[in-house]
Amino acid sequence: MDLEYQLIVPEFVLATLATLVVAGALIFRGRVRQEFWGYATAGALLILAILTAVFYWDTNDDFANVLAVDHFTVLFRVFFLGIAFFTVLAAIQFAGDRLKNHGEFYGLILFATLGMMLLGAARELLTAYLALELLSFSFYILVGFNKLNPFSNEGSLKYMLLGAFSSALMLYGISLIYGVTGSTTYSAIDPDGSGIRSIAGQLANFTGVGGDSSLPDPDAVRPGLLIGLILITAGLGFKVSAVPFHQWTPDAYQGAPLPITAFLSAGGKAAAFAFFLRLYSEAFLPVAAEWAWFVAILAAVTMITGNLMALQQTNLKRLMAYSSISQVGYLLVGIVALNAETIGQSQDAAAALVLHLIGYVATNIAVFTAIIAFYNRTGRDDIVDVRGLAERQPFLAFVLAAGLFSLAGMPLFAGFATKFIVFQVAFSNGFLWLGAIGVTASFVSLYYYLMVIKQMYLYEPEGTDRARFRVPRPMALAIALLVAGVFFLGLYPTPLFDVINESTAGLFQQAIETSASAVR
């Protein structure tokens, strides 16, 4: 088989770049300003993102049946590169003030991004697992990057131990699925006689129509399938921090250096959801009924617990951690809605999920960048510390307010439009109760977001440091761009939605080919 290496050039470039940054910072230690590595990384990421979008958009191919290079992959490649770009921009001043070994820091961010890109492209379970581990290991180190801070160490250790535990769960699930289907490939579109056995193809047996009859009696292996699905879902639930697999999240978020918290909450989630979505729509769609109930319960519990816990928080980072947990609940609703009457409806759910994901990530990075800018100046991150921020730094206060309103799902902002579409899909695909919980949970969330906004706008600054301060230009520009994006998405989501629709359509190709009746 000829391997078409040109398909995964961006991954190679990124890996090279990461190695170069780590090595370069060691070689030129002391001779180059530390900030240089940050700006170089950011610039390289931006260029790579643009080139990837330009050169790969029309690709619809497959690397050795292991990595798909289709619209979905390219969309997420650009998305991840964008996330990394904004994270690095936000991190430069922070790293300069508080961290050492910048080369390693940015290099690890690049390795994590590489993991994300591979994860979004993988269409084979072990490849996906390896990508996930690359991502996770980078994050274990990054969370504990602030070596001298005990919180950072604690967060990292908890994340790593529980991460290992969840990996074990997932691997066990993968082996069960392999046992049931005899394959780890998600789906094989047009096997052209090569006779590749795929999970989706084998699972079609369970619906009684189509598929390969070489499989043992479906009823006999059914328990294995069910347990396998549950274990994989649990492992994924850990990665996206769904309740009850969420408890590492607040500790890791609080301990990690702030830019890493941002990266974890944006990039980590986005990558896990890209994996989640591709796996469940390409491979597991034929048996949607077997896992949808579990994901639905996870979604409901996550939305409720995440929001209730957020009410109790006094620390901004922990608040954002629980906020992100509750956002995961809304995103899971999109996964649940994949279980629909027709493939078209499943496709709507996938598009809605990706749209909400992008809106959430853009908003979250904006909020975190603003928090980082605040933290750079004050070194504090409790909710009461932002008291009077509207006086001291009106721009940051505005950005935080806009971002938090967007997370709460207020109209005008991205959060409203995207959440609206997710819930609408849930309603029209028959998950009325789930949508209702989501809407109610959003009400609750408004309370704790408003708590922060109230501190900023209704009180005078307190303490010794009440002076106005400036935000560095590159950071202010990044924040302004993100907020403009949040407004644009909120007012006019159609263009992006069209792009996403085009991207997610590919995920359902085999489901359509195996004919609608076989899939259900």
């Binding site: 250790l157 908890k158 131990l161 529980l162 535990f165 969840s166 769960l169 059914r222 328990p223 069910l226 347990i227 549950i230 274990l231 879902t233 649990a234 639930g237 850990f238 009850p244 697999f245 408890q247 590492w248 607040p250 500790d251 009924a289 077997e290 109930w293 579990f294 319960i297 617990t305 209730l308 816990m309 009410l311 109790q312 579409i421 609408q424 029209s428 609750v444 309370y447 006019y492 159609t494």
Partner: protein, 645 residues
């Protein structure tokens, strides 16, 4: 065809100008006023490109209607377009808006300065002015009611912000509030109306709604109201139009709106925003004609307004207030034309009125700017001190009064012709009275402002001719006042490239040509001259003692007129006696039932649940792992229960 199909660029330019001014205006030299002026100038120039491509499309036999746009929202059956239409009505409106906006922008750069120093919030003024132009252009180009409604509220917002521009003044704040709340009443009607139309036709597109109404498909689904549904929706839309166009009984906000800077009055409260109601009815006129009784309501409201406002203008002494009532009255004329189904005529009067009224307002602004006095009784004798202002003001007044050969004469004459053909004689006679009144109040204003001996020495001492930047727009608008009237003649229209005169061009389905009848023209001309004569008889020089005598003869009648028929007092009484007591009951219900019980109880329960829930966070890794195991185990158990293993 490029420009007609990309007409969205026109509102986009001032919108960008607004964003720039909003973000950076205060840091720019001159408050960034050149950005606003530049945007207005670009729009004005681009208008001619749009016009040219529009006329090309007519010449090519394509009908001259260009639609373009994209879907704004598209979920299931709920489709809202971000669409723009260029047709003849839109062309007229864009011409009016772009011309007056440019003139007002230029004028404002001179007006908002005192002794060369810009007023406070100078940049903010131009930012809002740009936003207004953007919203107004969106309003006139929108092809669907929802987008139009968004722009409609946008212009309302700008009007609110600009009336309250001097928010240090209590009266300005009150006026801004009054304008906003009063127009809101109509807007709610408009919103309900457009939802009713959407419910019946499944579309916000104006063309779809018109087609559905003409096919008799607008009726309520369970057939309770039948045709009444169409009339109801149409009248609710008209409610919005009447609110925006200050028709009786919503007229009370417009005179108070004169608290804003005078150029704002010229742009928003005379030439553009207040005619949005006329424009909306003109757009939807086919629906009004199908809906039983709707046209008669339009006619009745228009006629009442034309008459009442004409009388009220007589009792006012503030220059700007006289002009405001005159605007209300002229808008009434336009609605009368719409009521008899003459769209072209209404749009023609809208066009001519926009220019001479803008000129009048800007002229009054010139007076106010120089003398710092706007009570006409304290002015007088300004003719010699401010010759350019006086000349342009007088010419525009003559136009408004309807004396040939100025533009107002042609358009008003058209309205009479249309009314003679479409309504009964009583309407025509009452309209004649209203026309007489307009000549009368304008002549009165001119006489006591510009002629006779100066009343207050300090005022006349300050009176000097204003800066050229203020006079140029005045002269330009006066020239337009001369010219646009002749557009009515087919020959002139053709010379400008229009197929036929303005009238036959504006409204395609039933081409109307200019009906110039000597006898009608003679009568209307005479009525206007009679108005002038009466004004001379009562107010010229020492004749004013006759006015005094008349007033002493009927003091109570005079008080009624001067107090504007006690509309404001009646409204205030209704608010105090009916609205506020009702509000108190609602407030009690809200506080006790809704808030304390309905909201706080679930909120407390939520907080209580959250309080207990937090004990699951122990911070210990074994506990975290245990929870994960429990989760998986429970799921496994449930799996065999739910999915039957």
């Amino acid at each position: 065809m490029f420009w007609a199909e990309h007409a969205w660029i026109l509102p986009a330019i001032p919108a960008i100008a607004f964003l720039v001014l909003f973000a950076f205006g205060r840091f720019l030299p001159r408050g960034g006023d050149f950005i606003s002026v530049g945007a207005a100038l670009t729009v004005f120039i681009l208008f001619f490109f749009v016009l040219e491509s529009h006329l090309d499309s007519i010449a090519a036999g394509l009908g001259g209607i260009a639609n373009a746009g994209t879907d704004w929202v598209n979920f299931d059956k709920f489709i809202v377009r971000l669409g723009f239409t260029v047709d003849s009505i839109a062309i007229v409106m864009v011409f009016v808006v772009s011309t007056v906006a440019l003139m007002v922008n230029l004028y404002s750069t001179g007006y908002l300065r005192h002794h060369g120093k810009p007023e406070p919030r100078y940049w903010w003024y131009f930012a809002v002015l740009s936003l207004f132009v953007a919203a107004m252009l969106t309003l006139v180009l929108a092809d669907n009611l929802l987008l139009m409604f968004v722009a409609w509220e946008g212009v309302g917002l700008c009007s609110f912000l600009l009336i309250g521009f001097y928010y240090e003044r209590r009266s300005a704040v009150e006026a801004a509030k009054k304008a906003f709340v009063t127009t809101r009443l109509g807007d709610v009607g408009l919103f309900i109306g457009l939802i009713l139309f959407w419910r019946a036709t499944g579309s916000f597109q104006i063309s779809d709604i018109i087609a559905a109404a003409e096919a008799g498909r607008v009726n309520d689904l369970p057939q309770v109201m039948g045709d009444g549904y169409l009339t109801l929706s149409t009248l609710l839309v008209f409610l919005g139009a009447a609110g925006k166009s200050a028709q009786v009984p919503f007229h009370v906000w417009l005179p108070d709106a004169m608290e804003g800077p005078t150029p704002v009055s010229a742009l928003i409260h005379a030439a553009t925003m207040v005619v949005a109601g006329v424009y909306l009815v003109a757009r939807m006129l086919p629906v009004f004609e199908v809906a039983p009784g709707a046209s008669n309501v339009v006619l009745g409201v228009g006629l009442t307004t034309a008459l009442l406002a004409g009388i009220m203008a007589l009792g006012q002494n503030d220059i700007k207030r006289v002009l405001a009532y005159s605007t209300v009255s002229q808008l009434g004329f336009m609605f009368v034309a719409l009521g008899v189904g003459a769209v072209g005529v209404a749009m023609f009067h809208l066009l001519t009125h926009a220019f001479f009224k803008a000129c009048l307002f800007l002229g009054s602004g010139s007076i106010i700017h120089m003398t710092e006095e706007q009570d006409a009784r304290r002015l007088g004798g300004l003719w010699w001190r401010m010759p350019v202002t006086a000349t342009t003001f007088i010419v525009s007044s003559i136009a408004l009064a309807g004396i040939p050969p100025l533009s107002g004469f042609f358009s008003k004459d058209e309205i009479f012709t249309a009314t003679l053909g479409g309504a009964n004689t009583a309407v025509v006679i009452l309209l004649g009275v209203a026309a007489f009144l307009s000549a009368l109040y304008m002549a009165r204003l001119v006489i006591i402002t510009f002629f006779g001996p100066p009343k207050v020495l300090a005022v006349i001492r300050r009176a000097r001719e204003a800066d050229p930047i203020i006079l140029i727009p005045l002269v330009f608008l006066t020239v337009l006042t001369f010219l646009v009237g002749f557009f009515a003649f087919d020959q002139v229209g053709r010379a400008f490239g229009f197929p036929g005169g303005i009238n036959s061009y504006i409204y395609f389905p039933e081409p109307e040509t200019f009906h110039f009848h000597n006898d009608i023209a003679a009568v209307t001309g005479t009525v206007s001259l009679l108005g002038f004569g009466t004004a001379w008889w009562f107010f010229w020089g020492r004749n004013s003692r006759r006015a005094e005598a008349l007033r002493a003869f009927q003091p109570r009648l005079a008080a009624i007129v001067e107090n504007k028929f006690y509309f404001d007092e009646a409204y205030q009484w209704a608010i105090d006696r009916a609205v506020l007591p009702l509000a108190r009951i609602v407030a009690w219900f809200d506080r006790m039932i809704v808030n304390d019980t309905g909201i706080n109880a679930p909120a407390d329960a939520t907080r209580y649940a959250a309080y207990w829930l937090r004990y699951h966070v122990t911070g210990r890794i074994p506990d975290y792992a245990l929870l994960m195991v429990v989760g998986v185990a429970l799921a496994g158990g449930l799996a065999f229960l739910l999915r039957g293993g």
